[in-house]
Amino acid sequence: MNMRLSYGMGFILLVLPCSLLVAFTHYPALKALLNSFWNNGSSIRPSRFVGVKNYQTLLEDDKLMQVLINSFIYAIGTVPLAIALAIGMALLVNSKLPATGLMRLSFFLPTMLPMVAVANIWLFFYAPGIGLASQLLNAVGLPSINFLGSTNTSLASMMVVAVWKEAGLFMIFYLAALQSIPTNLKDAARLEGAGSVRIFFDVVLPLLRPTTIFVAVNALINAFRLVDHIVVMTRGGPNNSSSLLLYYIYEVTFGFRDFAYGATLTVLMVVILGILAAFQFWVLDRKAHYQ
């Protein structure tokens, strides 16, 4: 429609709601940039302008380097795995196998749970000795693994938790996509003698591309946004092996009470997300057409 927007209407329809949004999205981003040029103050030592000093600290921060590497591995690891599992689950649930309702329940349930609940469940599951994971390992004669207490396994353990929670949600999106694939396409392929596997890779998968893009974007955003399990299970440890960027921001700001460095890290995070967004845009532009 092309109606003219009066100032009054504009105010109610746009200005009011959007200013709320801007106040908690764009304004804080700019504020973080501003605050990153001041140092951290306290009651007895007030804060002063320090230019790019915080950024120098940032560049020299080994812990940050570890955190960024972790975040990168975490994103690269969880996104494809969640997608692959989601497609698999969707195929299973969509098939003629018995008890698909129960399967769907089992796969989707973790999505309904808050991440803190998931974290508690897995904290118990991973507990050395008394947790089910250890008991299962011992039952087959393998030694217990200290999942959360070892620098080698803590990040991977967190990734498993994230995938467990997310894959079910993505399964639903794939289910929708699968059910909207016209059967005549598959029938035509079968007539030409293609087996199930070929049908899947040549017919079904390409048609799932839009969903995959949507799911990948979501998963990527969540990989940065959701750190509840880190807070509850490992607190970034041991020795920062499971610390992710948002968790580090939380630790620095609310643990060490260094709001200035927290602001600096926030700027970094926004920049990283911006680059990711630009990258996604580029991918989207090139790939599927998506209603």
Binding site: M3, Q135, L175, D228
Partner: protein
């Protein structure tokens, strides 16, 4: 022949995957219903008990936490429905300068959600004195870019002829909105509502730093406060508390499974 074997392999895979997937949750449930002694020892016929739930319920004000969560999600949902409708309406029905720019600006929130900017948002809230309040938790989320996106897509599909017809009959912009656009978007409102409720029920980090007192703590923060211990962790209690806090969601899901799934699917497609 291979098709048959394939089917068996497939079925086995399905069962194993579904079982493994459900294992952590099932173990948690099992532990919640058995005394602490058995929380590390899986004994088939160990005695069931409800005492963990009773003890957990009494150890922290879970009723209050639930109430807070309900108030929170209701507030956010109502605000979302109203505000997102308004903005989507503006983008679809009107032409104005900066429309494209404004829309891109709003969509930024899809990527940079309020938790990302937790440091500054906390300071903002502090400056306006709304820390430790439920409205404080809700504030950054009242206008949701996702909601705007969904509703704009939906409103776009409303036939212009309906709109024009209503105008001819003298309807104001508000009447047109209420009688033409909103009813046609009802399924999307439902879908979006579920997504919103689910998201805000589960939100943790932001409410954690915003709230101090039990009076405003939502259930997720209450659970974590309950579970962080200075002395030993009692797993049967923690699992009972975890189950308690998620039970409403699970029950709702079991009852409305079909609708939930259908609505998430719809939200996904759009």
């Amino acid at each position: 022949m291979t098709e048959g074997l394939n089917r068996i392999a497939f079925a086995t895979l399905a069962i194993v995957l579904a079982a493994l997937w459900g294992l952590p949750f099932l173990y948690s449930v099992w532990t919640a219903f058995h005394p602490e002694k058995y929380s590390a020892n899986f004994v088939w016929n160990a005695p069931l008990t409800l005492s963990n739930f009773v003890e957990a319920w009494q150890a922290a004000p879970f009723a209050l936490y639930f109430l807070n969560t309900v108030i929170l999600i209701a507030t956010v949902l109502v605000a979302n429905l109203i505000l997102c409708t308004l903005v989507a309406y503006a983008f679809v029905r009107y032409r104005f300068r900066w429309a494209g720019f404004l829309f891109s600006l709003v969509m930024v929130q899809l990527l940079i959600s309020p938790e990302i900017l937790i440091v500054e948002n906390y300071l903002t809230l502090n400056n306006i004195g709304l820390t430790d309040t439920i409205i404080g938790i809700a504030l950054p989320y009242l206008t949701s870019a996702f909601g705007i996106f969904l509703l704009r897509q939906t409103f776009k599909t409303v036939p212009k002829s309906l709109d024009e017809a209503a105008q001819i009959e003298g309807a104001s912009a508000w009447r047109v909105l209420w009688t033409v656009y909103v009813p046609l978007a009802r399924p999307v409102y439902l879908a979006y509502g579920l997504v919103s409720i689910s998201f805000h029920w589960n939100n943790f980090l932001w409410p954690l730093i915003v709230t101090n007192s039990p009076e405003v703590r939502p259930v997720t923060v209450g659970l974590s406060v309950f579970a962080t211990v200075e002395s030993g962790i009692e797993w049967s209690l923690v699992n009972a508390a975890t189950l308690m806090t998620t039970a409403p969601l699970i029950v709702a899901f079991l009852i409305f499974q079909r609708q939930f799934v259908a609505n998430f699917m719809r939200a996904g497609i759009k």
